[in-house]
Point group: C3
Chain length 348, copies 3
């Protein structure tokens, strides 16, 4: 597939500079060919743009005159997303319901649903229009999946769950496994059966091999537009608000409530039973230790305001051994001063 | 299903207060309906209990008179587990061995075993009474699984392993993948084949997408009653004692030996070749750096006694930049005092 | 199977001491029987060697005379790998292409390929000689897999990827899931379709439930001989050099470039868009905060030279509360000295 730059510009509602060339794909500045479009956001890569063979570069006004052909945008990432959409080929090579899938006779599938071989759809599961269930995926009994969803290979959506529209569940993700709940008894840990559910709202994305536990009772809830990266753990009864970003290998303890627009960077740890306010940002590898106010940026373990952590742990901590020496020297010197003074007094 | 409160109380050996209502389910204080039972452990939620619509609240003596109908318990969590058991419906919608499963002709399955479509059971695998193997699960050749186990969808139990009774393997967990063992050679890392096994004792639970490596030689061993959460990594030749709690995203290096009743909180890192004594507790996100004595509570990376860490990293570290200023001021002032003294001496 | 010690020694090009016994297997010093070979590298285990029942011990010259029968090696781990290879039985119990697998008619499989039941091979996938695809594994359309590879159960290799020769993909690993890329818009995070690929070079090993994202555009690349442990996250467009060791639960942010021979220990966090030089070693649980020079050893979060971190965080941090007390005492004493001096001056 290829299209004229003029047609592309029209499609996106953007202006372009230079010749009306044919565009056949999208690539990085470094790798793009003359019939491909590339993009520049970060001026750090200006030198790459100057050397690129890309036929056209999608960029913002200030950089547009650095290349012969530019597509000029105020939100390069958003327009890049739109361009890539035009050229992207979705994963997969089959359509319709495979005869090699298992569909329980009491399941209800819209006629536009695709189910790959070896996928399992349990009793009374309901799957909406345009949704694709890849090979080896498991949809438990009574689970409802909305329209235009993708459940990638070997993802597991246990029974009794509710998944919205336009949800993407990446390969190997597990939704609705049991929460981690035990009663302590004199003879060991007794399992508290986890009979709650998981609700995933519209436009949520769940990364590869991420695990989202079902509630003990009630609901674990991920609200609309939230994007969860790979290998993230979400405990039972957690509630994550709208449009959050939860980045790789983060773990969230049970019953914690997270507001809207929160960012949890990679490998963050959030304990049980706390609240994180709207718009808070928790830096990578942080260990949150209690409620977090809206809008703050925290870092460290235990987490503190990010600037404070960078000063304390980034700047001061490495110099701490030296500080011990300085204090020891002060102690010696002060003792000497005092001894001197005392001997002076004695002299008197 | 529903049952009289009096019957429920009799079943659990507990007393109740108030009317002998019908109970049809269990829910949170916040969500329970008048025909549901709820529970209270933490007095933090007393205000919710006062507003609950639950027909009955399972709680301990001191709080029982706050609601019209209470079920009075000395171990609320344990009795909650028992109540939920009564109302819980296990996951799954099939029974018996599916014709769509692959069962090797040399495998031995008890006649009460359930195997879902697309599960794989290898040669000479042995599966005990009442065990359920969900869709897409893999049971390797020669592996023995006891009675009343559940292997959830897409879990992988490689060949030659030994799994006890009442073991639960959550979706996507991998038992018996190769340990990480290489010989350094001038031309790169040469794989040391991992020919040992994994032994999982009775009443162990393995979380979703958790990985437990087979031993290089010999055995990786998880002893009875230990509960492992999601996304945990257990290295080759590790031994974990009885009744431990290993919480989400913890990693345990090869050949480490962990005692009984140990708690490893979330995202803990434990290195290779160390010993952790019985009853030790390692706080969330800690990085253990050497052997751990029985019964201690550690925190931090490198881990130290938890109170010490909270004082050092929680209280003092944020004030460290200020301490540097104070020391600098002391140095200046002391220099001034010494200069003054010296000039005084000069004066003399 | 069993073989004469003399034959074993000849096979490995090593000398042996003692009688020419039969060797039937390999085991630990602790567990080995008289017809098994064991090994000793670390002198810490000398006392175990003195008590071992092993028929023969593979060890280096200095320890060879501690047992009646020794196989003497200059690189015990490498020779252990070779011995274990002789006795190891690979996982699996089938060969050939199962009729219960799904092979797209346009896929190309070498005639020596093994495909287990319920594996899925997409359109135009190409699989080389001697490669085994276990049950439940997914090979996407257009993906090329080289010779002598193993794709273990329920591993997912999405479409359009390129996998070299002698590559091992452990159970549940996900290669080529979407990278985490969104454009910020006033109405939420808009997905940037991830249309790049993943290239895995020869002799690479990918651990259980590890996730390697496809590039946004272009390629995520793992170069030859690199060994990746379990539950590791590799972001989109990352490049990892040759012969690296990436240990359990490490996470690597998008577009980061890692040199050759780098070691990332367990639970390390590496951010987006940085470079790590050849031969660098990043200690367990570290959080790298910027480019890393070749050959350095870093530790901590933010990471600093390992010795400095051990002094600062391991030695000094626990004593920090005490340091605060010492400084407070100094301040008081100095104030007293100054007051004294001042009163002395007043006296004058």
């Amino acid at each position: 597939m290829s299209m004229k730059l003029s047609a592309l510009a029209r499609e996106l509602g953007l202006d372009y500079t230079g010749a009306d060339i044919d565009i056949a794909g999208v690539n990085t500045l470094d790798k793009a060919c003359p019939d491909e479009l590339s993009f520049l956001v970060n001026p750090k890569y200006l030198s790459q743009m100057e050397k690129t063979k890309a036929g056209c570069v999608l960029t913002s006004g200030p950089y547009a005159d650095k290349v012969p052909n530019a597509l000029v945008s105020d939100n390069v990432y958003m327009d890049l997303a739109k361009v890539v959409d035009l050229f992207a080929k979705p994963q997969g090579c089959l359509s319709g319901v495979s005869e090699l899938a298992y569909i329980h006779p009491d399941a209800q599938l819209d006629e536009t649903v695709t189910v790959y071989p070896f996928a399992f759809v349990g009793a009374e599961a309901v799957i909406g229009a345009g949704t694709t269930i890849f090979a080896g995926a498991y949809i438990g009994e009574g689970t409802t999946i909305g329209t235009q969803c993708i459940v990638y290979p070997n993802a597991v959506v246990m029974g009794g769950l509710s998944i919205g529209n336009n949800v993407i569940v990446h390969p190997g993700a597990v939704l609705g496994g049991d929460g981690y709940g035990y009663a302590q008894t004199p003879v060991g840990h007794r399992k508290i059966p986890q009979i709650g559910t998981v609700q995933i709202a519209d436009n949520v994305e769940i990364g590869s091999n991420t695990t989202i536990d079902r509630a003990a009772l009630d609901t674990t809830s991920i609200k609309q537009g939230t994007k969860i990266d790979n290998l993230v753990q979400v405990g039972h009864n957690v509630e994550i608000g709208e449009h959050c970003l939860v980045i790789g290998q983060t773990g969230i303890g049970g019953s914690t409530v997270i507001g809207n627009g929160v960012v949890l960077a990679g490998q963050v740890g959030v304990p049980d039973n706390i609240k994180i306010g709207d718009g808070a940002i928790i830096g990578a590898k942080s260990g949150v230790s209690g409620d977090v106010a809206p809008g703050v940026t925290l870092l460290g373990a235990p987490a503190m305001p990010a600037k404070q952590y960078m000063r304390a742990a980034g700047v001061c901590l490495p110099k701490l051994p030296d500080l011990f020496k300085r204090v020891k020297k002060l102690e010696k010197e002060l003792a000497a001063v005092k001894a001197e003074a005392a001997s002076g007094e004695d002299d008197e």
